[in-house]
C-alpha cells in the first residue's frame, strides 16, 4: 500500500509540474481538473468519511468567489461604484493586484469557514436525505439572493480585476495556484485522516448515536469538518473566479446543477469513503466529461445524468472501492474469512 501510495503521489506531482509544459493548449483544462480534485476531496471528507451527504457544498465555492472579488476591489476602491460601472472605471497597479489577490484568497477561505460554522448550527440537526435537501436549498437560495444584491453586481455579475501581464503568464500563474491548492488540500486531508480527528469523523459516519454516547462531541466535530471543507472550497472559488475573470451568480458562482453535482458524482465514481477514490474519480470524471462535451455536444447533459444513474445503481462502490474488494491485500486490508462467514450467516438470518 505504502509503495503504491507513493507512486501515485509522485505520478500526480509529475503530471502537475510537467502537464502544462507538455500540453500547453490544455493548461486551463488541467487547472480545472485540479479544482475538480479539490472539489471531490472536500466533498468526500463530509459525504464519504462522515456520512453527511451535502448537495450544497457549492455554496462555499460561490461565497469564496464573491468574498475574494469584494476584497480585491474593496481594498482600494468603493465596491458599489465599481460594480455599477461594471469595473470599467478603475485600473489596478501591479502591486495592488497581487496584494488584493493574496488577501482576497485568504479572506475567501476564512470567510467560507466562518459561514460554515454559522450554518453548522442550523443544518446539523438534519440527517440523511433531509441534510442533502436542506443544503441543496441553501445553495439554490444563495444563487437567487446574490442575483438580487446590486452591491455585488446583481444578476448581471461583476468583472474581476484584470491580471497585469500577458495571457500566457496569467494562465501559468493561476495554474500554479490551482495545483498548489489541490495539492495542499490533498496533503491536509492525508494528514487529517491519520489523526484522532479522522477516526472521530469515521465514527460519526458509522453510528452517530453511539459516537455521541461514547462522549464524542459530534456537533463540534461535524462543524469543524465542514469548516475545513469550506476553507478549501472558498479558496477554489476565489481561484476559479479569477481564472474566468467574471463572477455571475447562477452560472459561475453557484452552479448547483453542474459543479455542485459533479462533486458528488466524482466522489462516487472513484469510491466515496476511500482516500484515493475522490482523486481518481475526479480525474476520470473530468476526462470523460471533456470527451463527451467534445464528441456528443448537445447530448452531454443526458450523458452526465446517465453516468450518475449507472454509477449509483450498478457501480456503487466506485473504482477504488471495487479495486479494494478485488485485491484487498494490495490496500493493506486483511480479510478475516471466518468473520465474513459469520456476517453472511447473520444477514441470512435477518
Amino acid at each position: 500500500m505504502k509503495s503504491l501510495d507513493n507512486k501515485l503521489m509522485l505520478g500526480l506531482l509529475a503530471f502537475g509540474i510537467f502537464g502544462p509544459v507538455l500540453f500547453p493548449d490544455y493548461t486551463f483544462q488541467i487547472a480545472l481538473m485540479w479544482i475538480m480534485v479539490l472539489f471531490a476531496q472536500t466533498w468526500d471528507s463530509m459525504g464519504g468519511q462522515m456520512g453527511y451527504n451535502s448537495l450544497g457544498n457549492i455554496f462555499f465555492f460561490g461565497c469564496g468567489m464573491y468574498i475574494c472579488t469584494v476584497t480585491q476591489v474593496g481594498l482600494f476602491y468603493d465596491v458599489g461604484d465599481y460594480t455599477s460601472a461594471t469595473g470599467s472605471n478603475v485600473t489596478f497597479s501591479d502591486s495592488q493586484y497581487f496584494i488584493g489577490l493574496g488577501v482576497g484568497i485568504l479572506a475567501a477561505g476564512v470567510g467560507a469557514s466562518v459561514l460554515a460554522a454559522c450554518l453548522g448550527w442550523t443544518v446539523f440537526g438534519l440527517r440523511g436525505p433531509y441534510f442533502a435537501i436542506g443544503t441543496l436549498g441553501i445553495a439554490l437560495s444563495a444563487g437567487e439572493l446574490f442575483g438580487t444584491w446590486d452591491w455585488v453586481g446583481g444578476g448581471s455579475g461583476v468583472a474581476i480585476p484584470v491580471y497585469p501581464g500577458e495571457a500566457d503568464h496569467k494562465s501559468m500563474f493561476f495554474y500554479t495556484l490551482c495545483f498548489l491548492a489541490a495539492a495542499s488540500t490533498f496533503l491536509f486531508y492525508r494528514w487529517l485522516f491519520s489523526t484522532r480527528f479522522g477516526l472521530a469523523v469515521n465514527a460519526i459516519r458509522d453510528d452517530e448515536g453511539k459516537a455521541d454516547a461514547m462522549g464524542l462531541h459530534t456537533l463540534r466535530h461535524k462543524t469543524v469538518a465542514w469548516c475545513f471543507s469550506a476553507f478549501f472550497l472558498g479558496i477554489s472559488g476565489a481561484l476559479f473566479g479569477n481564472l474566468t475573470g467574471f463572477v455571475e451568480p447562477l452560472e459561475v458562482a453557484f452552479p448547483t446543477a453542474t459543479f455542485g453535482i459533479f462533486m458528488v458524482a466524482m466522489s462516487l465514481l472513484g469510491g466515496s469513503g476511500t482516500f484515493w477514490g475522490p482523486v481518481v474519480g475526479a480525474i476520470m470524471f473530468h476526462v470523460i466529461k471533456e470527451a463527451t462535451w467534445t464528441y456528443f455536444l448537445g447530448w452531454q447533459w443526458v450523458a452526465l445524468g446517465v453516468i450518475i444513474i449507472i454509477n449509483v445503481v450498478y457501480f456503487q462502490q466506485g473504482v477504488v472501492g471495487w479495486m479494494q474488494e478485488k485485491w484487498p491485500e494490495k490496500f493493506g486490508i486483511e480479510v478475516d474469512s471466518s468473520m465474513s462467514m459469520e456476517d453472511e450467516a447473520k444477514e441470512a438470518a435477518q
Binding site: 440537526g125 440523511g128 441553501i138 445524468g305 453516468i307 450498478y314
Partner: protein
C-alpha cells in the same frame, strides 16, 4: 417591497385574488406532494424526479394540444403513458436502489431528473409553453378579482383525482396491499403480498398522479423543461411540513404553500417566486429541527 404590502392593505380584494389563486394552484401541488408522500412512505425512496414527472405530463398535454386534442381530454392519455413510464423506471432504476442507503436513491432520482429535463429540452426546445384550454376568464367583485375558468375546472379535476386515489387506497385490494407494505414490508411479505409488485405499482401510480398534475399545470400555468426542480422542491416542502402519511396535513400545507407563494411573488416581485419556495423549504426544515430538538432527536 413596502409599497406592495401597502397596496395589499389599501385594496383588500387583492388579498382575495391572491388567496384564491394560491388555493387553486395549491391543489395541484397537493396532488404531486401526495404522490411523493406515497413513494416515500411505502418504499422509503425520496423521488427528486417528481417535478420532472409533472413537467413530462404537461408536455404530453401540450403536445396533444398542438395535434388538435383538447388538453383536458389528453389527461387519461397522460395518466396511462406516465403509469407505464413509471413502471419501466421502477424496473430499470428504482428497484435496484430501494434497499440501499437513502442518499443513493436521492442521487439516482436526481440523475434521472437531469436526463429527463435534458431529453425534454432536446425534444421540445427550451421555450415556455402553455396548453391552451380555450376557456374564458371571469371577473368577480366588479372586476377587481379575476379568475380563469380553467383554474376552477382544474381545481375540480384535482379534487376528483384525489378522491379517486384515496378511494383506491382504501377500498381496492392493491390499495390495501400498498398500505400494508407501508406499515411493515416484511410482515406483508409473510402474508403473501408480492412487495416487489407493490413497489412497482406504487412508483407507477406516483408517476401517473404527477402526470395528471402536469396536465393541469400545463393548462393553468406554464411548463418548461427546467421548471421541474421547483415542483420537486414544492413537493418536499409540503411533505416535510405535513409529515408522511398525513393526508389532511398534505392538503392544508399544499394550499398554504400555494397562497404563500402567491404572496411572496406579489410582495417581493415575480422573480422571487422560486426563491420563496426554497426559502420556505429552509424555514420548514429549521422549524422541524427546533421541534425535534425539544424531544432531543434529530430530523431523520
Amino acid at each position: 417591497m413596502l409599497d406592495n404590502i401597502n397596496i395589499l392593505w389599501l385594496a383588500p380584494l387583492l388579498n382575495i385574488q391572491l388567496i384564491v389563486d394560491g388555493i387553486l394552484i395549491g391543489a395541484i401541488f397537493a396532488l404531486a406532494a401526495y404522490g411523493l408522500a406515497l413513494v416515500w412512505g411505502v418504499m422509503n425512496v425520496k423521488n427528486l424526479a417528481q417535478g420532472e414527472f409533472v413537467i413530462m405530463g404537461g408536455y404530453i398535454a401540450w403536445f396533444g394540444s398542438t395535434q388538435g386534442l383538447h388538453p383536458i381530454l389528453s389527461m387519461p392519455i397522460a395518466i396511462v403513458i406516465m403509469f407505464a413510464y413509471g413502471w419501466v423506471i421502477y424496473r430499470v432504476i428504482i428497484s435496484r436502489v430501494v434497499a440501499k442507503d437513502m442518499f443513493i436513491s436521492l442521487l439516482a432520482t436526481f440523475g434521472l431528473a437531469i436526463v429527463m429535463q435534458q431529453a425534454l429540452n432536446l425534444m421540445f426546445g427550451p421555450e415556455v409553453q402553455v396548453a391552451d384550454s380555450g376557456l374564458s376568464v371571469r371577473s368577480y367583485f366588479g372586476g377587481s378579482v379575476t379568475i380563469a375558468d380553467i383554474r376552477v375546472v382544474s381545481f375540480l379535476l384535482c379534487c376528483a383525482l384525489a378522491t379517486a386515489v384515496v378511494l383506491f387506497m382504501k377500498k381496492s385490494r392493491m390499495g390495501q396491499a400498498i398500505r400494508a407494505t407501508a406499515q411493515d414490508a416484511r410482515a406483508a411479505k409473510v402474508m403473501g403480498i408480492d412487495t416487489e409488485q407493490v413497489y412497482a405499482f406504487t412508483y407507477a401510480l406516483n408517476s401517473a398522479i404527477c402526470g395528471a398534475a402536469g396536465v393541469l399545470v400545463s393548462m393553468i400555468w406554464v411548463i418548461q423543461p427546467f421548471y421541474g426542480l421547483a415542483h420537486s422542491i414544492r413537493s418536499f416542502v409540503i411533505v416535510v411540513a405535513a409529515g408522511i402519511g398525513n393526508l389532511p396535513g398534505v392538503i392544508v400545507s399544499a394550499l398554504g404553500l400555494g397562497a404563500l407563494e402567491q404572496y411572496g411573488g406579489f410582495v417581493l416581485g415575480a422573480e422571487f417566486q422560486q426563491a420563496t419556495v426554497v426559502g420556505l423549504l429552509l424555514v420548514v426544515l429549521v422549524y422541524r429541527q427546533i421541534q425535534m430538538r425539544k424531544k432531543r432527536q434529530a430530523v431523520v
